[in-house]
Amino acid sequence: MIELGLAPLSRALANGEFSSVELTQAYLHQIAQENSDLNAYVTVCEELALSQARAADEARSQGNAGPLTGIPIAHKDLFCTQGIRTACGSKMLDNFIAPYNATVVENFIKAGSVTLGKTNMDEFAMGSSNETSFYGPVKNPWDRSLVPGGSSGGSAAAVAARLCAGATATDTGGSIRQPASFTGITGLKPTYGRVSRWGMVAFASSLDQAGTMTQSAEDAAMMLNVMAGLDLKDSTSSDTAAEDYTKDLDKPLAGLKIGIPTQHFSEGLNADVEKCIREAIAEFEKLGATVREVSLDNSHLSVSAYYVIAPAEASANLSRYDGVRYGYRCKDPVNLEDMYKRTRSEGFGTEVKRRIMVGTYALSAGYYDAYYIKAQKIRRLIKNDFQKAFEEVDVIMGPTSPHTAFAIGSKNDDPVTMYLEDIYTIAVNLAGLPGMSIPAGLVNGLPVGLQIVGKDFAEAQLLNVAHKFQQATDWHEKSPVN
């Protein structure tokens, strides 16, 4: 039963084909078999999961079940979970047990979902390969010598290896879409502000957004229905009304206008990946869509602007880790400065320290205008490019990543090489737009992801576009598990 996606599982539970306890036990069994090698979960909540499953079965027997009741899911380990460690991939938070639940977590509890555990991730979500985690790298279930992508690599691997029905994740520069692409699953990053950030460990607050990792667009729509909506605890949460994201799934695509950014099909894109993407786009034409080229003139500057803005926000956000109120504290500090410095130097890993340093530099006196203000100006140009394109088209499509998953350890010599991993995804965060990655083919047996970007708050349309493709093709059903 665990090979099924979230939507078919929801129907099977409703039909009484099996119970949530049976389903939860099946996942826990699979996790026990696979996780020691894959390292997708950092915490497995066996007792909690089974008690939630029993409660879900009880609720169902009394006629109180919703679509997500009894569905076993996993949370990325940066969503605070009351009573369960939230480590965010860092030694700094290795002992941190949050006294409250993130709004997203609370919403799934209210929906009656089962929490199987917390998934591995790059430290503080800073990475594109899941190799910066304090808890070690996650392996890609398609080929265990490869990375699953990052930073939500644990959530991606858990869904791909059928260790949960769906998982929450977050995306600051591509952290949902790139790992979804590398592991052959469906990843959705909603519009900035669509899902509450309250109780998410902050990385770059103007970019961070929670989303979903699932087998299909239909599954993603069902999860988003639980996650989306205004939360007064998050001052940037949007008051644009949330919708039923499953309602438009089956709308015909006739007349859909697709834009193909010239800049996303240029130098650096693997030729076989390009072939898959062009074939996927041709499939949309068969479904009645029209395709035209669009230009995102400043997209080549998105990585540069991002590596000012995100580290600057991170350096401010991560100043809270001072060893005073929670988290790691160094042993025997001789004075306050010694405590700050040793706590932070011992608690943070190399990449996190690097980004704090870059951010501190960009915000420091004498450099603020040249770097931080300049980056914000580029950010506006990038947003303008999208706005101009969306005057002509409904959605923008292209590759999620220039290539398929790469070998563990192969890109660690120069951070810039790793940063360029997110070349097609980062601009979407800077503009605040919703984006997805859906499976669109295989190259040498490894998954290729198609990125679909929509207008502000057009999640229902994105999910419709992705769902119709998944009705017409079976790439999303390919799995590393046999």
Binding site: N95, L301, E337, R344, T350, K353, K374, A375, I378
Partner: protein, 95 residues
């Protein structure tokens, strides 16, 4: 733009980080590479462009000025490295 060891030491102090000699050298080299990446921004003239701090130009939402949180001091201090009598303990600050 290249970063020298002295710059690294200054930035590390501002960020309250204590780096070993080896880490300082690594930071100087990797930060120089990152700044080269960042400096590509300078290729575009942005004199007439207003900075964008946030994807949506919206105003800060305000709420009524009334107490909504309950006192959870003991709960919150349970996870502190060191706390006593409702206070967070830190090394001596004033000599």
């Amino acid at each position: 733009m290249s970063i020298e060891l002295g710059d690294v030491e200054n930035i590390a102090h501002l960020a309250r980080l204590d780096l070993t000699e080896k880490e300082k050298e690594e930071a100087a080299s990797s930060m120089s590479n990152i700044l080269n990446l960042i400096d590509q921004m300078q290729s575009v003239n942005t004199d007439d462009v207003a900075p964008l701090a946030h994807a949506f130009d919206t105003a800060q939402r305000l709420r009524e000025d009334k107490v909504t949180e309950t006192d959870q001091r003991d709960e919150l201090q349970k996870i502190a490295p060191e706390a006593e009598d409702g206070l967070f303990l830190v090394p001596k600050v004033i000599e």
